[in-house]
Symmetry: C2
Subunit: 297 residues, 2 copies
């Protein structure tokens, strides 16, 4: 695969999503505007936009309108960005660097960062439920339920809690796999599910997308752990070797570098196989899986 | 009005809402359960449940089913509780006492409190969008949009940001009124709106409820400021005289005690007048307005 060509595809989708984020977060000069500036700082501050790409590419399988797909993609990205802002807070992971820039609470202050995260989380549901996102209100309500389940205590928030209490003992493979599935896997899976919901996918199509997302999410995390060990902060735009320094179990500490890499490769191949029922239409999703494996940042 | 009898009505509604909150936040023994315990600690920890009473009483005007009204009421209360948890954090108002007990970050820790707030916020939208809340998916989607607008940067979060930056200069009456409308008024107003949406209220009914909520919310805040000056922490279950200590302008500091009280009385009378189109059915909403004026805590 031509990695550079695919990076161009990712980049084009990211810019299209940014246009919607820009629209959803309008600048004004009322005295409370600082919270909107902080939301924009974090939401429009770069990133590969893997989740929005998943929403859009899955929606494209079913011929969903570009407006619907990009609005939903922007909503998912707002959830991702809120989680990064809150996870970076001093009381949580206490990170100063994110996407190559100061984290939100460093650039503004902690109170503003907490509020910016809250407001991004809130806006995501507003966008999904608005009439412009889909003509069928049942689809809109289903989008809200799906995204909430993936983001809340049964999903991403539960995973972050698990990560925080995990410091107390070394995790086993099943435990770390469950943590990953909640903390990062749930949002990746719901990105695909949202594409399917927008396109009124059949049961078997939903299952295929879910299986793809499941394997992709796990591969994504294993590669993240590998990059944390092998990469530099300059390449990644965030602090590295934090897990090792904190004595935290990761896929790499449990499997070793070589087995972790071959496990990720196996998962990516498996993810691609699940897409067979979509034939040629699934090319972007296949490319994404290979990109996830080959990425260096 | 018999205040004690009305307190019994409030209390009965609070217990009914608690049953739904209890169901939405199931206890389990997975390692991440701490976040659910913290959600329960804050959401089930007492409070007058004024907002859920508004949702239920407005829904009752239109004969909405009890299940629909109580589910939506619980969702609004989850938003209120999340906002209290986050506002109490050290980086925000730094409060140790809430509803007569330790605040969430004191009872647990800051990270858990941040996550518990996030998860309550998320769960509120999940509950509103679920089929059990209303048979018409358009109503469910409209509930989500209304609650998100009231809670996000155009409403409650914007108001909290405004409050944080307000320390920089003394607020004028128009500024403090705008702050109140966003920080506390928006959620009170949407509580009434949600009752109307569930019952498919007409345009004029929506306008009447909105006018009632607007005046009630302002009266509520003025009385809150009066209690902050006159009440004790023991009566209120939270720290008092904080605004004065912080040199913050309040309705009382701007108007004086007597004028503030007569202003609140005028607003309560006006709120009750807006309910005329609902005739006798609006009795609970009228009682609530009088309770807001006469409450001592």
């Amino acid at each position: 695969m031509d990695l550079d060509e695919f990076k161009g595809d990712l980049e084009r989708n990211a810019r299209a999503v940014d246009q919607w984020l820009d629209r959803f977060l309008p600048v004004h000069d009322d005295p409370e505007a600082q919270v909107i500036e902080a939301m924009r700082y974090s939401a429009l501050g770069g990133g590969k936009r893997v989740r929005p790409f998943l929403v859009k590419s899955c929606a494209d399988l079913f011929g969903v309108s570009e407006i619907a797909a990009l609005r939903a993609a922007a909503a998912v990205e707002m959830i991702h960005c809120y989680s990064l802002i809150h996870d970076d807070l001093p009381a949580m992971d206490d990170d100063d660097l994110r996407r190559g820039r100061a984290t939100c609470h460093i650039e503004y202050d902690e109170a503003t960062a907490i509020l910016a995260g809250d407001a991004l989380l809130t806006k995501a549901f507003e966008v999904l439920a608005e009439e412009e996102t889909h003509s069928d209100p049942r689809v809109r309500a289903d989008l809200v339920v799906a995204l909430a389940k993936a983001s809340g205590f049964e999903g991403m928030v539960g995973g972050q809690m698990l990560d925080l209490v995990a410091h107390e003992h070394a995790l086993t493979m099943p435990e770390i796999t469950r943590l990953q599935r909640m903390k990062t896997g749930a949002l990746i899976a719901v990105s695909c599910e949202i594409g399917g919901l927008l396109g009124k996918a059949s049961e078997s199509q939903h299952l295929a997308l879910n299986a793809y997302a499941h394997d992709l999410g796990l591969a994504f995390q294993i590669i993240d752990d590998l990059l944390d060990v092998e990469g530099s902060a300059a390449e990644l735009g965030k602090a590295t070797q934090k897990d090792e320094a904190a004595g935290k179990a990761t896929f790499v500490s449990l499997l070793g570098v070589e087995r972790a890499r071959s496990q990720a490769r196996m998962l990516v191949d498996q993810a691609v196989e699940h897409l067979a029922i979509f034939a040629e239409k699934a090319a972007p999703l296949k490319k994404l899986a290979l990109f996830v494996f080959e990425r260096r940042a």
